[in-house]
C-alpha cells in the first residue's frame, strides 16, 4: 500500500513561533508518504498540537518550507486552501463540533462542503453513525452528548469523506478501551483499504502496539527525534523504521 515514490507532506527546516515568543517548533524536516501510518508522541508541551495545526492548515510556519500533496504551502494563496483541506480529515483535541448542528449534520459537514449530493450524504452519514454506535443520537446537539459520544462524532466527521490524510489529536482519549480499539481499526482500515495516510498524536503507549507497521515520530521540546531516519526519503539503508513498541 505504501507508495514511497511521491511524498504527501514534506517539511523542510520548519519553525513555528507564536508572536514574539520563542519557537515552539524548530528545524522540523521530515516527509510523509501515501498510505503510511504515523504515531506522533511526546510529552505535554512538546509541540504535538502545534505540529498538527501546521499539518491541518490552521497555522502557517514562521520559517522553512512545507509541501503538501505536491503543492508549496508557502506561496499558495489562501483561496486554494479549501481544496487541500477537503483532502484532510481532522479529529481535533477538543473535538470542535459545531455547537448548533446535530450530530448528523456535524458528520455531514465535510460531504456537504464538498458539494456531495444529499442522498449520498444521508446514506453515508447514517451508516457512519450506525457504525460508531450513535444512530440513535443523530438528532442530538453536541452539548447533550457525553465526552465519548462527542469524540465518536468528531471521528466520524473526520473519516466520512475518505480523506487522503487523517490527522487525529488524542482520538481515543475519552472513549473506553473497546471503542478505542474499534476506532483504531477504523483508522487502519482507511489506511490499508483506502490508502489514507494516518497521523495520530497520542500519549497512550499501549496504542502504539496495536498498529504493528506504524512509524513513530517523537517530539521533544519542539524538535523532532527521528533516530532511525524512517521519516526521510529515501530511508537510511541500514536502519528500518522505528517500529511500534
Amino acid at each position: 500500500m505504501n507508495d514511497r515514490s511521491t511524498e504527501i507532506v514534506k517539511f523542510d527546516n520548519v519553525g513555528l513561533r507564536y508572536g514574539t515568543d520563542p519557537e515552539v517548533l524548530s528545524n522540523l524536516s521530515f516527509t510523509f508518504f501515501p498510505g503510511s501510518f504515523y504515531f506522533l508522541t511526546g510529552a505535554s508541551g512538546a509541540g504535538k498540537t502545534s505540529l498538527l495545526k501546521l499539518l491541518y492548515l490552521a497555522q502557517r510556519p514562521s520559517r522553512g518550507a512545507i509541501r503538501m500533496f505536491g503543492q508549496d504551502l508557502m506561496t499558495m494563496p489562501r483561496e486554494r486552501l479549501p481544496d487541500l483541506r477537503q483532502r484532510l480529515g481532522v479529529v481535533f483535541q477538543n473535538f470542535r463540533l459545531v455547537p448548533h448542528l446535530t450530530a448528523f449534520d456535524n458528520v455531514a459537514l465535510p460531504l456537504r462542503l464538498a458539494g456531495a449530493p444529499e442522498a449520498r450524504v444521508v446514506k453515508a452519514v447514517s451508516d457512519m453513525l450506525e457504525w460508531v454506535g450513535l444512530a440513535h443520537r443523530g438528532q442530538a446537539i453536541p452539548a447533550t452528548l457525553s465526552g465519548g459520544e462527542q469524540q465518536r462524532v468528531a471521528i466520524a466527521r473526520a473519516v466520512i469523506a475518505r480523506p487522503r490524510m487523517l490527522i487525529a489529536d488524542e482520538p481515543t482519549g475519552n472513549v473506553d478501551p473497546d471503542m478505542a480499539l474499534k476506532l483504531l481499526r477504523l483508522f487502519e482500515a482507511l489506511n490499508n483499504r483506502v490508502g489514507t495516510t494516518v497521523v495520530v498524536a497520542t500519549h497512550d503507549v499501549h496504542l502504539l502496539k496495536k498498529v504493528p507497521d506504524s512509524l513513530i515520530m517523537r517530539l521533544n521540546k519542539g524538535e523532532l527525534s527521528d533516530p532511525t531516519g524512517a521519516l526521510r526519503y529515501p530511508p537510511r539503508p541500514a536502519a528500518g523504521p522505528e517500529r511500534a513498541l
Binding site: P82, L113, W131
Partner: protein, 310 residues
C-alpha cells in the same frame, strides 16, 4: 472487528466547481444582532419620509413655477374708486392689444375684499381703505425682464399709476427656500444611508465574532469564504428585509398622515405638492435600496474579516 461502509471518495474537483451546499446547514440561523432589524426599520422609515418630503417639495416648486412663470399682475393704485375703475378698464384694453398676452382678467372688487378680509376685517369692504385695482394677466410664454419693462411702458401712457409685477420674481426666495429643503432632504437620505451602512457593518462584525469558532471549523473542514459569506448574507437579507418592510410601512403611514394634514389646509400652493406615480415608484425603491445597501455592506465586511483568517 468490522469497519464501517465508507462512502465513496469525494471528487478531486475544487469546491468552487461543486454546487454550494444549503446555507442553513453550514451555520445556525443566527441573528446578526437583536436590534438591527429595528434600527433598519427606523432608518428606512426616516428615508421614506425624507424622500416623500423632498419629492413633494420638488413637485410643489415645479407646479408653482409653471403656474407663475406665465403670469404677471398689474396693480392700478388710485384712491378714487371711480377713477380706479376707469383706469383699470383702460389698462385691460391696453393689455388685450398686446401679442404677448393670452388673457386678461380684472379681479372684481368683491373678490379682492374677500381676499383681504382676514387681514383688514370689515375695513376691507367699508371703502375707507383704498384698495388698488388688480389685473391678472396670463402670457403666451415666459416673459423676459425687457418684455416686462415693455408692458410697463405700454401701460404708462394710458394708466400712469400702473405697476407690473412678474409673479415669478416675488416668489424667487420661496423657490430658493424650497430648493434648499430639497437638498436638505437629499442630505438627510445620504446621512441615513451612511448610518445604515455603519449599523450593518458593526452588526456583521459582531455576528462574525460571535460565530468565529464555527467559521474556523468550517474553514478547517474545507469550507470556502463564499460558502460562509452566503450563510451570513442569508441572515442579513432576512433581517434587512424584515426591517425594510416594517420601516416602509411606518414611513408610508407617516407620509399619509402628513398628506392628510396638508390637504386639510386647502391652500393653493400645497395642492401642487402631491405625489405622482413616478414619485411612488421612487419611494417603493427605498426599501429595496436599503436591503441592497445592507447586503453590500455585510458582504464587504465579512469578506474583509475572512481575509484576515487563514
Amino acid at each position: 472487528m468490522s469497519v464501517p461502509p465508507l462512502p465513496d471518495a469525494p471528487d478531486d474537483a475544487p469546491a468552487a466547481m461543486s454546487p454550494p451546499p444549503r446555507a442553513a446547514r453550514l451555520l445556525p440561523q443566527a441573528r446578526m444582532g437583536g436590534l438591527i432589524p429595528w434600527v433598519i426599520a427606523i432608518l428606512i422609515a426616516l428615508v421614506v419620509i425624507a424622500a416623500a418630503g423632498g419629492l413633494a417639495l420638488r413637485n410643489l416648486a415645479e407646479t408653482a413655477r409653471a403656474d407663475l412663470a406665465l403670469a404677471v399682475t398689474v396693480q392700478v393704485i388710485e384712491p378714487n374708486p371711480d377713477l380706479r375703475d376707469q383706469r383699470g378698464q383702460a389698462a385691460v384694453a391696453v393689455l388685450q392689444g398686446m401679442d404677448l398676452v393670452r388673457s386678461v382678467r380684472l379681479v372684481p372688487q368683491s373678490e379682492l375684499a374677500a381676499l383681504l378680509e382676514p387681514w383688514l376685517g370689515t375695513a376691507a369692504t367699508s371703502g375707507d381703505v383704498p384698495i388698488p385695482a388688480l389685473i391678472d394677466v396670463e402670457l403666451v410664454r415666459r416673459a423676459s425682464p425687457a418684455e416686462i419693462a415693455a408692458i410697463e411702458t405700454a401701460l404708462a401712457g394710458a394708466v400712469p399709476d400702473a405697476r407690473v409685477d412678474a409673479q415669478g420674481d416675488w416668489l424667487r426666495p420661496v423657490y430658493r427656500a424650497l430648493a434648499a429643503l430639497q437638498w436638505l432632504a437629499l442630505g438627510l437620505i445620504a446621512l441615513i444611508a451612511l448610518a445604515t451602512a455603519a449599523a450593518v457593518w458593526l452588526a456583521s462584525r459582531n455576528s462574525l465574532a460571535q460565530h468565529r469558532e464555527t467559521v474556523e471549523i468550517i474553514h478547517l473542514l474545507g469550507g470556502t469564504d463564499r460558502q460562509i459569506t452566503r450563510t451570513f448574507l442569508a441572515t442579513v437579507l432576512r433581517e434587512a428585509a424584515f426591517g425594510a418592510i416594517l420601516g416602509t410601512a411606518f414611513g408610508l403611514g407617516a407620509v399619509w398622515l402628513l398628506g392628510q394634514q396638508f390637504a386639510a389646509l386647502d391652500a393653493g400652493m400645497t395642492r401642487g405638492g402631491g405625489l405622482g406615480v413616478r414619485d411612488w415608484l421612487v419611494i417603493a425603491a427605498v426599501p429595496l435600496g436599503g436591503v441592497l445597501l445592507a447586503l453590500a455592506t455585510a458582504r464587504m465586511t465579512i469578506a474583509l474579516a475572512l481575509r484576515n483568517m487563514l
